[in-house]
Each structure stands twice: as structure tokens, then as C-alpha cells.
């Protein structure tokens, strides 16, 4: 009994942390309608800043914590003013979600650059001697966590329900347009909400840090569990955030104690999926409904550019020839290997483009499908060496398609951003399994001993051989999907992207097409993952982890969504950069986050889209010159 109460107490303490992060989510969501994924990063930034103040500057624990909260709040508010708030008026909700995913990556990159990748631990505020309350041991830091959570919850409640500022914030949540007409500065309210959320996250970070250890990418876990808490409780509902957080914390501790700590996040995800299916709006509905099922927006309309068929044909042949000629010029093994990786990732990106660029459905778990395909293929060939490579890859693809169909069926009833979150949960679930199922995946150290890819007796051993294989595969896939995207299937995908109701009214099977699009994405992801495993002869969880999913999205957006070939630019740039500038490799996460944010804000059409626009303009100018000359010569002949 005491044991159980001890576990329950632990759960309550963890739950209080989750609740605090969930409150930050709900606050920003209520005012702006956006799920702000960067929330968890505030905790880590604040905690590590406090560590610096303590150990580098020699400050005592409490002043260091307070200083760190102030600093993080200022940084967070500034980041919100520069990126998040300007995006609100330009981007759809789904793209805002991606923008915050970019911000999260950016923050992780910045933390990595500043503090490195080692774990940190902070001193407890009031010693590490736990209190004994009726036989239950409670660390004093736990009381700090609980007390802080209570103070923040009460303070937030007072602010929102008892002050004019709170009323204004709520008005922005209910109806931003009407709020603006009433003279409320919606922009300032958004900045205020973002800054306040940063402050709450920072406070949570500094009080929690002594109870755990933090690394550069711990922010993702905070975001992830805080988000699950908020989704369980009901997005936008403050009581829901608290209930969700505590429930999740307790459940996790119980699961860790009685099942296994490796699967505690998997159990949390199952809980989330069950609640999402049974009660999609969460346990306590926030009452704020925003339309988020489409990525319909001005930027989609603005960035479609079509090349004339002739230009596309000539360009395609030129690029294909150039691609195949590369090994003749590039002799550096390292660069050629990077190009092979870029080409393999491009396969996953084609799938991601189908589902995100064309069908407008957010997929934040593409690397999860890579993992399914890669680990399945790798496991099969290492266990049964008589199975041909291609059969193993095909098995991985089938498994990924099956996973995508299950995921589609589970999320079928969900609308809006839930697909984004379901795919992200899927990615994280796969993460948990790749680390946890040591017998199959080799655990954190990875799956080793994967042979080279071979077809019959021919084996692709060198980067050159792999390069030709991948290049030809890429070209074939682009040709196939070019055919599909410019005819019926592609049009149906794009109609769904912008208006699902109108699509259904024309007899388009919206659900069926979404399932198909995700299955295609999963299949290409798995193919890519399989090739990855064969090329590296090795597969480890972080190669195909959630970070890679976000990095794939960055490549897609940088290259150009909905352009089919554009993403290859993104994958080449982001893969080659660390190879070309070795000392800068540590900046890779930072750079991909920064690029994602900048692209969403300033270059939504991507590099390829930009190039196409430029080409089209050039062509138009030339043809109008020609027209003018013709008219002149006609006039000349008539006089």
C-alpha cells in the first residue's frame, strides 16, 4: 500500500510538471488557435540558463532560477514577436504548427550549440534530504514543484477571470475579428500570451530540473508529454490541462513501476489514442472551436506555378543527365556518400510531398515509417541471410503500409490538427519501440551487421554503385509521380488540400484518398528506410527518430512543397552542408530549424518554386518581346 502511495505521489509530482506545460499550450491555443510546440524548449532553456548562472557565475540556486526565468521569458517573447506573431496573419493553423516545430528544432539547435550534448543536473533549492510524510518519502523539490504549480494555476485563473486583461485575452480566443473591432490589439495580446506561456514554461523548467537530468533535446519530451496531457484533458481548457497532466503523470509512474520504464511513453501514447478516438475533444472541452481541417490559405494559391510542358520536359532531361553524370566529376567518397544519403532521403520526401504538399495533410512522423521499413528489412536480412535484399525491403514496405492504414483508421474520426499530432505520436511511438525492443532492434546502440544491398549475385558495395542505383530510382519515381500528380489523382489530392466539403460534393472519396496518400507516403518512407539500412550497414534509433521527421519537413519546405522535384534541393543542401563544413556540423539542427522558420515566413514557395517563378517570368518577358516585334513588323509592312 505504501509502495502504491509512493508511486502515486511520484505521479502527482510528474503530473504537476506536465500540467504546467499543458497550461502554456492551452494559453497560447486559446488566444491564437495554434499549438505551440516550442513550449517544452522554454523549460530546458530556463533550466540550463539557471545552471550557467549557478556554476559559471556562482549564484545561489534561487536567484539563479529567478534570473533564468526572466532571461527565458525575454528571449521567448522576442522570438514570439519576430516569428510566431507575424506568422499568425500569414499562415494557416497547420503551417503555424509546422512553424513552431521549426522553432522547437531551432531552440534545440541553439541549446546544442551553447551547452553541448551532455546531460545536466541542477541542485535542489532546499537540499536533497527527502521529507518523510506518513512513511511516504517526498523530495523537498517535489514540494516546490507542487507549490509552484498551485501558485501559477491560481494566478492564471485570477488573471483570466478577474482582470480586464484576461477578458481581452478571452475575447481574442472567442472571436479575433470582433475583438479587433472592439479596439483590442490582437497582436499585442498574442505577444503577451506567448510571453506568458514562455514564463510559465521557464518556471516549470527551473523547478523541475533538479528532479531530473536535462539534455539539449529534452525539450521535445516536455513538449510531447505536455501536449499529450493537453490533448487528453481538452485543448484550450485550463481545468482540462491540469486533469490531463496529473492523469498522465500518475499513469506513467504506475506503468513504469509495474510494467517497464521503456514503454511508459508508449503507454502514454496508447492512452492518448484511446481518448482521441473515444472523445476527440478531450475529457473537458475547451469550448473554443477553430476550423483547422484544411491548409486552405493564400499561400497555396500564391505559390502554384506550373512550368509549360516543354520547359518541364527539357529541364527534366537535363537534370536527369546531370544527375547521372555526377560520379564522373565528383571523386570524393564523402561527398558522393552524402549525395547517396540525400537521394535516399529524397524518396521519403516524395512521399511526404504527396501527403503534405499535394493533399495538405500534415505528417510529422515520416521518419517513423523509415524506421519501420529500415528495421524490418535489416532484421530480416540479419536473421535470415537467405532472404534476398529486395524481398526484405518489400516486407518493410508492406509493414509500413499496414501501419499507415491502422493509423488512418484510428485517426479517421479525428479532424484538424489531430492528424498532425497522431503522426507525431506515431513517430515517437516508433522511437520508443526502436529503443525498447532490444532483441529486435538492438536498442540504443542500433542494429548492426546489415549486408550490402544485393540483387541476385550483384552487390552494391561502393558509394558509386549505390549512387547509380539511388539516382535511377529517384528519376523513375519522379517520372511516375509526375504522371500521377498532373492527372486525376493529383487533382483530387489538391482539391482535398483546399476544400474537403466541395471535393466530397463532387463525389471524391475524401477519406479513401487520404488513406491512399498516407499509404503512399509510408511506402516511400519504408523504401527509403530500407535503402538507408543497407547503405550504412547499420541502423540506430536517432537516424530515423522524430528529429529526422522534423528535418525531413524542413527539407520539404526548403525545396518547395507540392513541386515533386523541389525537395531534392532541400535534402541535398541539408545533407551536404555538414559534410562540406565539418566544423559546423554541430549547427545542423540549428540550421534546419532556422531554415524551416525562415522558409515558412519568407519563402513559402521554396527554392524550387522560386526558380519556377523566375523561369516563368523570363519566358513571359521573352514571349511579350517577340509579340511586340511581330506587331512592329506588321505595321511596317502595312505602311
Amino acid at each position: 500500500m505504501i509502495d502504491f502511495l509512493q508511486i502515486l505521489t511520484g505521479g502527482l509530482l510528474v503530473g504537476a510538471t506536465y500540467a504546467l506545460i499543458a497550461l502554456g499550450f492551452s494559453l497560447v491555443y486559446r488566444v491564437t488557435g495554434v499549438i505551440n510546440l516550442v513550449q517544452g524548449a522554454f523549460c530546458v532553456v530556463a533550466a540550463l540558463t539557471a545552471w550557467t548562472f549557478e556554476t559559471q557565475l556562482g549564484w545561489p540556486a534561487l536567484p539563479a532560477a529567478l534570473g533564468a526565468v526572466v532571461a527565458t521569458t525575454l528571449i521567448g517573447t522576442a522570438a514570439g514577436m519576430l516569428t510566431f506573431v507575424p506568422g499568425l496573419t500569414r499562415l494557416s493553423n497547420a503551417n503555424m504548427l509546422m512553424l513552431t516545430a521549426g522553432l522547437l528544432t531551432l531552440a534545440e539547435g541553439a541549446i546544442l550549440v551553447t551547452w553541448g550534448s551532455q546531460p545536466y543536473a541542477l541542485q535542489p533549492f532546499t537540499g536533497d534530504q527527502p521529507l518523510n510524510i506518513g512513511g511516504i518519502l517526498v523530495p523537498t523539490q517535489g514540494l516546490w514543484v507542487l507549490g509552484t504549480a498551485l501558485v501559477i494555476i491560481l494566478g492564471l485563473w485570477y488573471l483570466l477571470s478577474r482582470t480586464f486583461l484576461g477578458q481581452a485575452l478571452r475575447a481574442c480566443a472567442e472571436n479575433p475579428v470582433a475583438a479587433r473591432l472592439m479596439g483590442i490589439d490582437v497582436r499585442r495580446m498574442a505577444i503577451f500570451a506567448f510571453g506568458l506561456a514562455a514564463a510559465i514554461g521557464a518556471v516549470a523548467g527551473v523547478v523541475v530540473a533538479p528532479t531530473t537530468s536535462l539534455e539539449f533535446d529534452s525539450g521535445r519530451l516536455f513538449t510531447f508529454f505536455g501536449f499529450i496531457a493537453v490533448a487528453i484533458g481538452g485543448i484550450g481548457s485550463f481545468p482540462g490541462s491540469i486533469v490531463g497532466g496529473v492523469l498522465l503523470g500518475v499513469l506513467q509512474q504506475v506503468a513504469t513501476a509495474y510494467v517497464s520504464s521503456l514503454f511508459s511513453s508508449a503507454i502514454a501514447l496508447f492512452l492518448l489514442l484511446i481518448i482521441l478516438v473515444l472523445k476527440p475533444s478531450g475529457l473537458i472541452s475547451g469550448g473554443v472551436q477553430r476550423r483547422q481541417d484544411v491548409r486552405e490559405e493564400t499561400r497555396v494559391a500564391a505559390h502554384i506555378t506550373r512550368l509549360t510542358p516543354k520547359t518541364a520536359r527539357i529541364g527534366g532531361v537535363l537534370i536527369a543527365a546531370l544527375t547521372l553524370a555526377v560520379p564522373a566529376f565528383v571523386h570524393s567518397e564523402a561527398i558522393l556518400s552524402s549525395l547517396v544519403i540525400a537521394g535516399i532521403l529524397f524518396i521519403a520526401l516524395i512521399g511526404l510531398d504527396v501527403v503534405m504538399g499535394y493533399a495538405g495533410q500534415v505528417n510529422l512522423g515520416q521518419a517513423g515509417f523509415m524506421a519501420v521499413g529500415g528495421y524490418a528489412a535489416g532484421y530480416i536480412v540479419t536473421q535470415y541471410d537467405w532472404v534476398p535484399s529486395l524481398v526484405a525491403i518489400a516486407a518493410g514496405i508492406l509493414l509500413a503500409i499496414a501501419a499507415s492504414i491502422v493509423l488512418s483508421l484510428v485517426t479517421m474520426r479525428l479532424r484538424g490538427l489531430y492528424l498532425a499530432l497522431a503522426t507525431m505520436s506515431f513517430g515517437l511511438l516508433v522511437d520508443a519501440f526502436t529503443v525498447g525492443l532490444i532483441d529486435i532492434t538492438g536498442g540504443p546502440s542500433g542494429l548492426v551487421g546489415i549486408p550490402s544491398l544485393s540483387v541476385g549475385s550483384y552487390s552494391f558495395d561502393t558509394p558509386q554503385q549505390m549512387y547509380y542505383l539511388v539516382a535511377i530510382l529517384d528519376i523513375l519515381l519522379v517520372l511516375l509521380f509526375y504522371g500521377a500528380m498532373r492527372t486525376g489523382f493529383g487533382r483530387a489530392l489538391q482539391s482535398i488540400r483546399t476544400d474537403q466539403m466541395a471535393s466530397a460534393a463532387l463525389g471524391i472519396n475524401v477519406k479513401g484518398i487520404k488513406v491512399l496518400a498516407l499509404a503512399i507516403s509510408a511506402a516511400l518512407g519504408a523504401l527509403s528506410g530500407g535503402l538507408y539500412a543497407f547503405f550504412f550497414h547499420f541502423l540506430s534509433p536517432e537516424m530515423v527518430g522524430e528529429q529526422e521527421s522534423l528535418s525531413l519537413v524542413a527539407m520539404l519546405v526548403l525545396g518547395g512543397e507540392g513541386t515533386l522535384v523541389g525537395p531534392v534541393l532541400g535534402s541535398i543542401i541539408l545533407t551536404l552542408m555538414p559534410t562540406l563544413f565539418q566544423p559546423l556540423a554541430i549547427y545542423k539542427t540549428f540550421a534546419s530549424g532556422l531554415l524551416l522558420v525562415l522558409c515558412f515566413l519568407f519563402m513559402p514557395q521554396g527554392l524550387f518554386g522560386l526558380g519556377m517563378q523566375w523561369l516563368n517570368r523570363l519566358q513571359r518577358r521573352r514571349s511579350s518581346h517577340g509579340g511586340a516585334r511581330q506587331r512592329l513588323s506588321k505595321e511596317g509592312s502595312s505602311t
Binding site: A301, G488, F489, M501, A504, A505, L506
Partner: protein
């Protein structure tokens, strides 16, 4: 032309305490143009949404050529040949004018994704055929020269006509048009009237919600008048125009009647 193409039987739907429709019943004879008219807020668009099951009726049912549509998804209803347009033009942004029209045909495409990936001769021939047909339809509304324009860059009137063309491309048996003339200028309205007559001639049954009375009186074979969610009159345009209840409810207060 005999049978009943579309029939509503006692449709009821309330939003909170507001009864949007109560016991709405009417029949649309095959091969006719039936107009659904009524003052603002009478429940016309609600009736459309109930028919196409955008939201289900709380009681009552809809039948299309005798088969009950209860519980059918909007795309299944469309696949049965009942195609609708929306009150505010809903062209697909991100697609060109031609692509918008072609999208209308999607449910009838024969060549699947694999055929179009591999560019099989059948798929290419089908695409060519459809493009020709779409261009002919675009020619009808004078947009043939704008086929590669982004659909959302067209003026509102053209977007509404484009939506009608897109619906036609879906080869409807019954076509539901929600205020197609709203936002159209006089010459566009005349084009629309001519098009409606041509649509009827080609054997397509039309149910139209419209505020433009001269258009309704010119082209409709039958008029159903809704007021406050109830059907108050059904008949030929002339008989409805003469109905004192209709005059009281609607035409009497409308200047252009």
C-alpha cells in the same frame, strides 16, 4: 419525362432551439427545373445541406430516383448522380481554371493511379478527351482563354459560373444549384438562364435556390416556396405568383418581383 427525380419527405432539423426546417416535403419531377425560393433565413440552404447529408435530418428522408439516401456520405450521394454547388463559390484554390473543371470528373475517371503513373495509352486518351470536353464547357461561359489562370484570380461572377461548369463535368443526373446568380451581372445572369435551359434540354433535372425572381420566373417549371422552415406553396411560377400567402410572405415585400 415522367418519374420523380428527387423527393424530400418531412425533413426536420433544428439548431439548438431554432427550427430551421419543419416537415419540408416536395418532389422534383424528372427533367424539370424546380426553384426553391423564400425570404432570407427561410431554410433553403439548410434543405440543400439536408439533401446532400452535409448534416443529417433529425427526421424525414430524401430519395433519389426512389432510393433512400439516409445515412449516405456526401461523396456517395454525389456518386449516385446528385451534384451540388455552394452558395459562396468554392472553386479549388491552387488549381487552374481547367484543372478545376477536370476535378469535377474525378468520380467517373476510368484510369486509376497506376495507369496515370505509367502513362498508359488509355489514361492519356481519357485525359485528352476530358480536356476537350472541359474546354468546350469553358467556352460556354467565355473562359476558354483563361484555362491556365488560377481559379481564385477570376472575378466572383466567373468563379460561380466555373463552379456550375465543374458540377456539369461530374455528369449529374440531378443538379442542385445554391444561388448561382448571386454576384453575377446582368449579362452573366442571361448566360446562366440560357445555360439552365440547355441543361434541362440535355435531360438533367435541376433544383435551384435563387433570389433573382426574374430568373426563377423565366426558367423554372415548378416553384417551391419556403417560409420560416415550412413549405407554404408549390406550383407553377404563375400560380405561385398569384398565391396570396406567397405574396404576403415574400413577393409582396420584394421590390423586384
Amino acid at each position: 419525362m415522367s418519374g420523380i427525380a428527387l423527393a424530400a419527405h418531412g425533413l426536420n432539423r433544428a439548431f439548438g432551439g431554432l427550427k430551421a426546417t419543419s416537415d419540408v416535403s416536395f418532389e422534383v419531377p424528372e427533367g424539370t427545373i424546380t426553384a426553391l425560393i423564400g425570404p432570407n433565413g427561410a431554410g433553403k440552404t439548410t434543405v440543400f445541406n439536408l439533401i446532400t447529408n452535409i448534416f443529417p435530418p433529425q427526421s424525414g428522408s430524401v430519395s433519389l430516383f426512389g432510393s433512400d439516401l439516409s445515412g449516405w456520405s456526401p461523396n456517395r450521394i454525389a456518386a449516385a448522380g446528385l451534384i451540388r454547388t455552394f452558395q459562396s463559390a468554392r472553386v479549388f484554390p491552387g488549381l487552374t481554371v481547367l484543372e478545376n473543371v477536370l476535378t469535377g470528373r474525378h468520380r467517373l475517371l476510368k484510369s486509376g493511379i497506376l495507369a496515370s503513373m505509367l502513362r498508359l495509352p488509355g489514361a492519356r486518351a481519357e485525359e485528352r478527351r476530358l480536356t476537350e470536353r472541359a474546354e468546350k464547357l469553358l467556352d460556354l461561359i467565355g473562359l476558354a482563354n483563361h484555362r491556365d489562370t488560377h481559379a481564385t484570380e477570376l472575378p466572383m461572377g466567373s468563379q460561380k459560373l466555373l463552379e456550375v461548369i465543374r458540377a456539369l463535368m461530374a455528369a449529374p443526373k440531378v443538379l442542385l444549384l445554391d444561388e448561382p446568380a448571386a454576384g453575377l451581372n446582368d449579362s452573366e445572369t442571361a448566360e446562366l438562364a440560357a445555360m439552365l435551359v440547355a441543361i434541362r434540354q440535355s435531360g438533367i433535372t435541376v433544383l435551384i435556390v435563387e433570389h433573382n425572381m426574374s430568373l426563377v420566373m423565366n426558367v423554372a417549371d415548378q416553384v417551391v416556396v419556403l417560409e420560416a422552415g415550412k413549405v407554404i406553396a408549390t406550383g407553377t411560377p404563375a400560380s405561385v405568383q398569384a398565391d396570396p400567402r406567397v405574396i404576403a410572405a415574400y413577393l409582396g415585400t420584394t421590390e423586384d418581383a
